[in-house]
Each structure stands twice: as C-alpha cells, then as structure tokens.
C-alpha cells in the first residue's frame, strides 16, 4: 500500500534502461535505514522515558523522595559498572543490521541491473518537488549512476558489516537502541548524500551525516570530553558547510541550476580556468576540507575518536569522511575546468597526508593513530582527485574503506577485550593506550592476523589492496606533472608542474611514514611482552563471532580489493586478470573530466611506470623495516609509568599544538570579544546603557531639575511667568519686523 503510493510519487526517468529494473526501488535504499532509525529511536525513547507528573512545578526540584527513588534505576543503568542489557536489545539487534542488509541486497540487485546497461545518462528518480520557488526548482530526486552505485555499495556493504560488529560491541550498553537509531540514521543520510541528484539534496545528506557524527561522537555524553568532541566536529564541519553553501549560491546565481544534470547542461556558460569556476571549486573544497578533515580543518577528526569504535570505523574512516572525495568526483566537471583549484586540492591533500602522518608517529592511543592515519589517507585521495585521477581517488576511497574499517574494527576488538579485562578487575586504566597493551597476539589471534593484513594494505605492500590504489594516485601525480593542463597552470606564481612534483614527494614521504607508524602500532599492540597487568591478563580473550565475522570479511576485501582496479602494468604481467575495472566503470561520470586534466598523453611510458612502482614498494618495505628494527616494544612501560617526552617527540605527541593555537587565536578571542565588546560593551553599554536607559535617565534628570524649579515660592513662579512673558513679547515683536 505504502509502497505503491510511493511508487506513484516517484516518477522515474521514463525510457531509461534502468526504468523497469530494481532501480525503480532506489528510494528504498535510504528509506530502509530511515525505517530502522524510527523503530530504534522509538524503542530507545519508550524504554528510557521517565514520564513526569502532571504538574511538574508541584514536585520539589530534586528533593522529592519519589523522584529520587524512581530515577535510581535509570541512573544506575547508565553507570558503566553495571551491565544492564536493554530490554529491547534483541529486537534492536535484529532491526539495526537487518535494514542495512536489506539495503545492501537491494543495492546489489540494482548493481547487477546496472552492469547490463550502458550508463551514459544517469537514472534519476524524482520523489517529489522539494523547494520550488520561482525559477529555482529543487526536487527530492535520487540519481543512480556508476559513481553513486560504487558509493552505495561501499556504504551499505561496509555498513552492514560494521552494524553486525556493533551488535557484539555495543550490546551491553544501556543506550543500545539509541546507538542503532543514530547509526541507521547516519546510513540514511549517507545514502542521501551519494544518491542526491542535486547539490541541495546532497547537502541534506552532507549535514545529516555531520549531525549523526555529532550525536555518535557524543554518544557517551556524560563525559565532557566526548560532548566537546561532538560539538567540535559539528562546528568545524559547519565551517566547511559554509563553503559548500557559498559554492551552491554561486552556481545558482550564475548557472541557474543546482541539479547535476542541469549544471552539466549549462556548464559551458563558465569560462574554463576563469575566476568564477575557480572560486566555486575552492568553496566546494572548503566544504571538503571540513568534512574530510583536511588542513586546516582536520582538527575534529582525532577528537571524534571519542565515539564508540564501530562509529569511528563507519563514519570516521569508511564513509562520511570520504564524502569530500565523492563531492569532488561528483563535481569533476567543474574541477576539471579549474586547474588552479584542482592544484590547490592536490597540494592540500599532499601536505595533509604528510602532516597527519608525522603526528601519527607519536600517538599512544590506538584509535588516535588510526585517526591521523585516516586524515593522512584522505590526503592521498585528495591528491588523486586533485590531479584529475578521479577514478584513482575513488579507488583509494574504496580500498581505504576496507582496510581502515578493518583496522578500526580490529582496534575495537582489542579495546573490547581490554575493556572487558579491566572491567572484570575493576581497573581504571586506559583501555585504548598502546602502552597498556603489548603481546596481544596470543590472546587475540584472529584480530592479530587480520590487522596485519590491513596494515600491509595501508602500507602499500604489493598485492594487498592499498598498494594498487596508492600507487595509482602517485603515478597519476607524476604523470600529470608534465604536459597536462595542470602542469601548465600557475598556482600563486608557482608553476603547476613544480607543484605536482612537490606533491609527489610529499606523497612518497607520507607513504614511508605510514608504513612506519602502522608497523609501530602493530608492534606495540600485539608484539612484545604484555603490559596489561597480571590479573587482567587472565580476562583477555577474542571477541564473539558477531565481531570477528565482519573482521574476516573485511580482511578478505582488504587483501583482494585491489583487484577491482588493476593497473595496466599489472595486467600486462598477468593478462588473465581484468584491468582498470573501476576506472572503466566510472568512465561515464568522470571520464571527460579526467581526460581534460590528463592532457594529451594520459599514460606514462611503461618503463617510467615500473620505476615508480619500484620506488613505492621500496619505500613501503623500508618503512616496515625501519619500524621493526628501530622500535623496541619490550622497552615500553605502562602509560601510568611513562615519562614525559621532550623536544620534537613532545611536539608530535601534542599534535604540533594546533588545537591550542586555534583555541588561543580563534575560540578565546571570539568569546572574549563577544562578551566584553559586543555584549557588555555595545549591547549593555552603548545601546542599552547610553541610548535607551540613558535617554530615560536624561528625561528623568531633566524632570528632576524641572521639579526643583517648582520651589513652592510664589515669587519664583511670578518670575518664571514674567520671563516667559518677555520671551513671548520678544517673539511677537520679532514677527513684526
């Protein structure tokens, strides 16, 4: 019934080859998680609600015996020390991952349908008209094309795995239904982001995922640090969103359209390389920098690790943070017309990749290492899309989703074990600090193996997925550094080609550091002696199958994911394998843009390419070797006994003091100025004090003086009368002349 009525609303592009396939149910993709959100949300509220009395004011505030008693249960339930499984936990465990799985199945069905047809034109399903105002027509319309298909598959696929993992990880949390409600809502918005057929709808998803990120980072809101981190994430993201908004405004006021098709149709109004398109792209990139944690807006992502670990895996590694990359790939048409903006993207990406990697070297919190690693890897993706290798960027996005989700979930598994151990012994040590771990491989063998796979993938060891995607990006940079429109462009006086070589160098350096810090993490966590503690050691054990199962699947994907887009040099080695599958798949969306930026040559000579591959492998191996040889896990001591680090180490440990600098340079001055100057000064002081109350005071003072004149003396009155009379006579005599 509901389905059929929705079907009538959805007016599919008639005549499109996908029109009569599963694609017509595209609206179900986001609708299913939304349904999950509604169910879980209601379950969360009905169970937690503590309906108040009819007259709240009649109840004493907090001194009432009844209220104390009745809230005791709820209060206790939130205490970490009492595990009280939520009473709807079973239902939630079914609904939460279930809707995602259903979405994934549908996505797979659509994917199968799409494989069989030529996707020159995207399939657009218009649900309803959202904001029709004058010549502005914004529809709630979903767009299916190869790019959004890839994203949908990643989101629903990896999302399903992480949802399943969460069942094990979060089951005993009192906020379990709330958690799944948020998570489902996130997937809804993420799907909206990638499926939206116009920028405003994409923006809905864009902000929506930010909102869910905010809610999930602050999931355990009773810790101020968590609530702070959520807020920080949202506000920093909003800075980016400002850029996104302005870009949209510029697009609409110049092109009169905001939907992707419309913009593609009228893009010829833009002058390639002109200031307008460059400005638009730069504003879009500001949005990307916020969402995808690039310099200078990356600061929220490490803090975002305050959320539950599966959240970090899903939102802050696999999907949401890559939205920026998706946005650029989606806007490839515009970016390809703006070489200067593209160079900016690449440069910022490269610098971020190296910058975050250096910080990652000295982090002790296992999730923080992964967080900076994510920032760094996102930098790579931006390098890719920045140089116009859109398929490479998306490819790295995908492999990164596999191995980084695996890394996070693995770390979640570790933390879960650590936490259980500490919980059992009532210890308050930090369950995330690597100095408290060590030698975990014997307790968590499955996790250990799988995380090594992911580490090798991210480090760029051949055959593992990350190797192919990272190499593709780096070789694209190298290729574009010569003879392409990018190389010919001038970026703030610097020739584009020089800039690209520099970016390439940054990428290599970052690759080296990546290998080092990832190996470091593995060594400190799983190798060497165990530092968890005598008692706790007995409680360390592998997580249940709901958690290890998804890990295994992700492990397989991390290992072989690279085969989805094998580079040419590799397929020449083994001709049986299909080459550049993803690139060909994305061709209808980003092909023309890629071609425009690639210039005439497109591909490097085979010899150069092989040289580059060799360099990349060497660097990855070198990084691992350096880490293994230089680092001494045995020498580590527990966090509580570690000495303060000094010098460069301290600076890295404190992340270059960037947070502190922002606090001092922006946050504090804003608050101080707002309070002292704007509020106390202008508002209370000048407007209210001087103008408003001042004029009232003036009138009163004047009145007081006047009433003093009213002395009660008849003589005075007569004098005033006569003075008035003289003045009046004067006025009349004056009138005579």
């Amino acid at each position: 019934m509901l389905l059929s009525s929705m079907q009538t609303i959805a007016t599919a592009t008639t005549g499109h080859p996908l029109a009569d396939t599963a694609a017509k149910f595209v609206w179900l993709l986001p609708a299913l998680p939304l349904l999950g959100f509604v169910v879980n949300g209601l379950l969360s509220l009905t169970a937690a609600a503590n309906i108040g009395p009819a007259d709240p004011s009649a109840v004493g505030h907090g001194h009432d015996d009844h209220s104390q008693e009745s809230t005791h249960g709820a209060h206790g339930a939130h205490d970490d020390h009492h595990v009280v499984r939520h009473r709807h936990a079973a239902l939630v465990s079914l609904v939460g991952p279930g809707v995602l799985a259903a979405s994934f199945v549908l996505a797979a069905a659509i994917f199968m349908a799409m494989r069989g047809v030529e996707m020159h034109v995207p399939f657009i399903s218009t649900l309803f008209s959202w904001m029709p105002v004058g010549d502005l027509h914004i529809d709630a319309a979903l767009q299916l094309d190869p790019l959004s298909m890839v994203m949908v598959l990643i989101i629903t696929g990896v999302g399903t795995l992480i949802h399943i993992f969460s069942v094990g990880y979060m089951q005993d949390d009192p906020g379990y239904p709330r958690y799944f409600a948020y998570l489902n809502l996130f997937v809804f918005f993420m799907l909206l982001l990638v499926l939206g057929a116009n920028y405003p709808l994409m923006f809905v998803g864009w902000e929506g995922v930010g909102l869910c990120s905010y809610l999930l980072i602050g999931f355990w809101f009773s810790e101020q640090a968590n609530a702070d981190a959520g807020k920080k994430a949202f506000i920093v993201n909003r800075i980016g969103d400002f850029g996104f908004l302005v870009a949209m405004f510029l697009l609409f006021s110049n092109l009169g359209a905001l939907d992707f098709m419309g913009i593609a149709g009228s893009a010829d109004k833009l002058q390639p390389g002109g200031p307008l398109v460059t400005t638009i792209c730069l504003f879009f990139f500001l949005g990307c920098a916020g969402k995808s944690a690039q310099l200078p807006l990356y600061i929220w992502l490490p803090d975002a690790m305050a959320g539950p670990t599966p959240v970090s895996a899903l939102i802050h590694a696999a999907t949401m943070v890559t939205a920026g990359v998706y946005l650029i790939a989606r806007s490839s048409l515009l970016f390809s017309m703006a070489p200067v903006a593209s160079l900016t993207v690449a440069l910022v990406g490269g610098v971020t990749a190296l910058f975050a990697a250096t910080i990652g070297l000295k982090q002790w919190d296992i999730k923080k290492v992964l967080a900076y690693s994510t920032v760094s890897q996102l930098g790579y993706m931006f390098v890719g899309v920045g140089v116009g290798a859109y398929a490479a960027g998306v490819f790295h996005l995908m492999t990164h989703a596999f191995f980084k989700a695996l890394l996070f979930l693995g770390s979640g598994s570790v933390i879960y074990a650590m936490h259980a151990a500490y919980h059992a012994t009532h210890s308050h040590d930090d369950a995330q600090d690597m100095r408290n771990m060590g030698g975990l491989k014997q307790y968590l063998p499955i996790t250990w193996v799988l995380m090594w796979i992911a580490t090798l993938a991210i480090a760029g060891i051949p055959v593992f997925s990350g190797f192919f995607s990272k190499d593709e990006i780096l070789s694209s940079v190298f290729a574009r550094a010569h003879g392409s429109p990018l190389a010919d462009a001038v970026w703030l006086g610097i020739p584009g080609s020089a800039l690209l070589y520099f970016v390439y160098a940054l990428g290599l350096a970052a690759a080296l550091l990546t290998a080092i810090y990832m190996t470091r993490m593995m060594l400190y966590t799983f190798h060497g002696p165990n530092r968890t503690g005598e008692m706790e050691r007995n409680h360390l054990k592998e997580a249940p199958w709901t958690m290890t199962g998804p890990l295994v699947v992700l492990g397989v994907l991390s290992a072989i994911g690279g085969f989805l887009n094998l580079p040419e040099f590799f397929t020449t080695l083994i001709p049986a394998l299909p080459g550049e599958t993803l690139a060909k798949w994305l061709e209808p969306v980003v092909g023309s843009a890629t071609a425009r930026l690639a210039g005439g040559e497109g591909h490097l000579p085979a010899s150069t390419e092989q040289l580059l591959v060799g360099v990349a492998i060497t660097i990855a191996v070198a990084g691992i070797v350096i880490a293994v040889t230089r680092l001494k896990p045995a020498a580590l001591v527990k966090k509580s006994e570690s000495p303060e680090s000094v010098g460069l180490e301290k600076m890295l440990e404190h992340k270059y003091y960037v947070d502190e600098a922002y606090e001092k340079a922006i946050v504090t001055p804003t608050i101080v100025v707002s309070r002292a100057v704007l509020w106390k000064g202008i508002d209370s002081g000048i407007i209210d004090g001087l103008m408003v109350n001042g004029s009232a005071m003036f009138a009163r003072a004047f009145g007081w003086v006047g009433s003093q004149l009213q002395s009660g003396q008849v003589g005075t009155y007569a004098w005033v009368l006569v003075i008035g009379a003289v003045a009046l006579l004067g006025a009349f005599v004056r009138a005579m002349q």
């Binding site: 009433s707 009213q710 002395s711 009660g712 003396q713 008849v714 003589g715 007569a718 004098w719 006569v722």
Partner: protein, 97 residues
Amino acid sequence: MLAEALTLSAVLFAIGVVGVLTRRNAIIVFMCVELMLNAVNLSFVALSRLYGATGQVFVIFVMTVAAAEAAVGLAIIIAIFRHKQTVSLENINVLRG
C-alpha cells in the same frame, strides 16, 4: 496727550509687575496687582477719548471685578494667616516639587 497717558499707564503697569516680583508680603503683592489693573484702567480711559464709551464701560467692569477680587483675596489671605500666623510668601511653600 494720548501717548503720554498710555506711557504713564505702561510705567504704572511695569511698577506693578516689579512690585509683584520683588515684594514678599501677600497683601503688598496683591496691592501691586491692583496697581496693574488700575494702570490698565488708565489706558482704557485714555483710549476711550479716541473710540467712545466702550473703554469707560470696561473700566467700570474692571473696578467691580477688582472689588470682588479684593474681597475674595483678603479672605484667602486671612485663611492662610490662620494656619501660618504670617502672610509672608517666603514661608508659604508647603506645596512644592
């Protein structure tokens, strides 16, 4: 002749005004007011030489009214004297502000 009479009238009027402004005894102030009225009467009389009887009729009216005024005024002054035992205007200032 008319001009002189009017001038005298004005001077008398001014003297009355100055008296009201400077004296502090209620009765003397009242006398000064009477002087002002009579100064005006002088004007009326002088002007009626020019225009006929109207001015003189007016004078009769003014004198009648002044008499009534004097009766009321002195009664009021007596009333205040009963309360204050003085008719000095400087001491009559309960009402003020």
